[in-house]
Amino acid sequence: MMLAYPAAGVLLILAWIYPSHALYFHIGETEKKCFIEEIPDETMVIGKYRTQLWDKVTSSFLAATPGLGMHVEIKDPDTKIILSRQYGSDGRFTFTSHTPGEHQICLHSNSTKMALFAGGKLRVHLDIQVGEHTNNYPEIAAKDKLTELQLRARQLLDQVEQIQKEQNYQRYREERFRMTSESTNQRVLWWSIAQTLILIVTGIWQMKHLKSFFEAKKLV
């Protein structure tokens, strides 16, 4: 029993220090990396990132120096900014969509010191979870005191809810697609008629004008 608390302490430390297995990529100093998330409305999105800086001395990536942070900007489908915040070298951002559509998540570093980027590389570990993937089931089980079967049922319910939301969003998108196609149809119809009319009118005008011109010149 006495070993339990140190063990818990070690677990807690491991949770935060052990390197994340998330995907990573390299980013330049002034570079802005954007990711698109096309999501239905009322969907929660959680993004976590961790940065590492290339150290020429040890020729490896070290944990980034404090003061080197990332600026996160999130735009909704109407290109309105819903989140624009500066985070530290490790950050976690979350938002819930209120309109369905393409949300854009942009990251760029806020570094102004060129010396820091002398090596030219900043490594960013990024993980973005959407919808039912944001749910932390062990935590939900502990909080609501659910049995295993109840927890599995909860997970299935969440998945089905996500499928339902996506189907609803699909209906809205198909409506937009249909409106665009109908607009194209209308435009093709009216502009074809208009162009034929212009053609006929200019033809008639040409002939009339030339006839009167030649008659004036006494050639006809």
Binding site: H21, Y24, C34, Q155, L156, V188, Q206
Partner: protein, 213 residues
């Protein structure tokens, strides 16, 4: 007391699992003549799947290349619209996959990829499974797997629909642009024809041909 400790341990294990994420799905924009690489550290023996699809841009194709920690190319395809590649990690280390749009001169592309590493984390990480799953539990597991595949199909359908819709919107603007342009060209050409013809006759006032009787 023991119950409280168990709760604390469960929460901490949950946090631990929060840090260990085993699947990434991203959509990003790839400018023309650009190459974007992603890296992931994988343990030997893990089954991984890389799936990608080009959503918008040009001829909807991209070059993709997957390399293992020693630089051996595991997967290389040029100008592919959509593909799925499954492999088992034979070595420990950093695997790298790159998407290249270097063959394109002015179209930037939107690429979606889904990189799954290993299996999903179990719902109850700290419980050691001694007995087999009951019928209810195994039914739940198979429903969960089926729903995961439904969500995956939905995603691919959504991407194809996005592709179709962007082509339709493109067509719409092009029709408007070219219709107006053509009407203007028509007017300009007909007026200039008349003006040109007039100019042929206005100089030769003295050379009017008359059929003399």
């Amino acid at each position: 007391m023991y119950g409280l400790f168990r709760l604390v341990l469960q929460l901490l294990s949950a946090q631990l699992l929060c840090v260990w994420v085993l699947g990434s799905e991203l959509t990003f924009e790839l400018p023309d003549n650009a190459k974007q690489c992603f890296y992931e550290d994988i343990i030997i023996g893990t089954k991984c799947t890389l799936e990608f699809q080009v959503v918008t841009g040009g001829h909807y194709d991209v070059d993709c290349r997957l390399e293992d920690p020693e630089g051996t190319t595991l997967y290389k395809e040029m100008k592919k619209q959509y593909d799925s590649f499954t492999f088992t990690a034979a070595k420990n280390g950093t695997y790298k996959f790159c998407f290249s749009n270097e063959f394109s001169t002015f179209t930037h592309k939107t690429v979606y990829f889904d990189f799954q590493v290993g299996d999903d984390p179990p719902l109850f990480p700290n419980e050691n499974r001694v007995t087999a799953l009951t019928q209810m539990e195994s039914a739940c597991v198979s429903i969960h797997e089926a729903l995961k595949s439904v969500i995956d199909y939905q995603t691919h359908f959504r991407l194809r629909e996005a592709q179709g819709r962007s082509r339709a919107e493109d067509l719409n603007t092009r029709v408007a642009f070219w219709s107006i342009g053509e009407a203007l060209i028509l007017l300009v050409v007909s007026i200039s024809q008349v003006v040109l013809l007039r100019s042929f006759f206005s100089d030769k006032k003295t050379t009017t041909t008359r059929v003399g009787s």
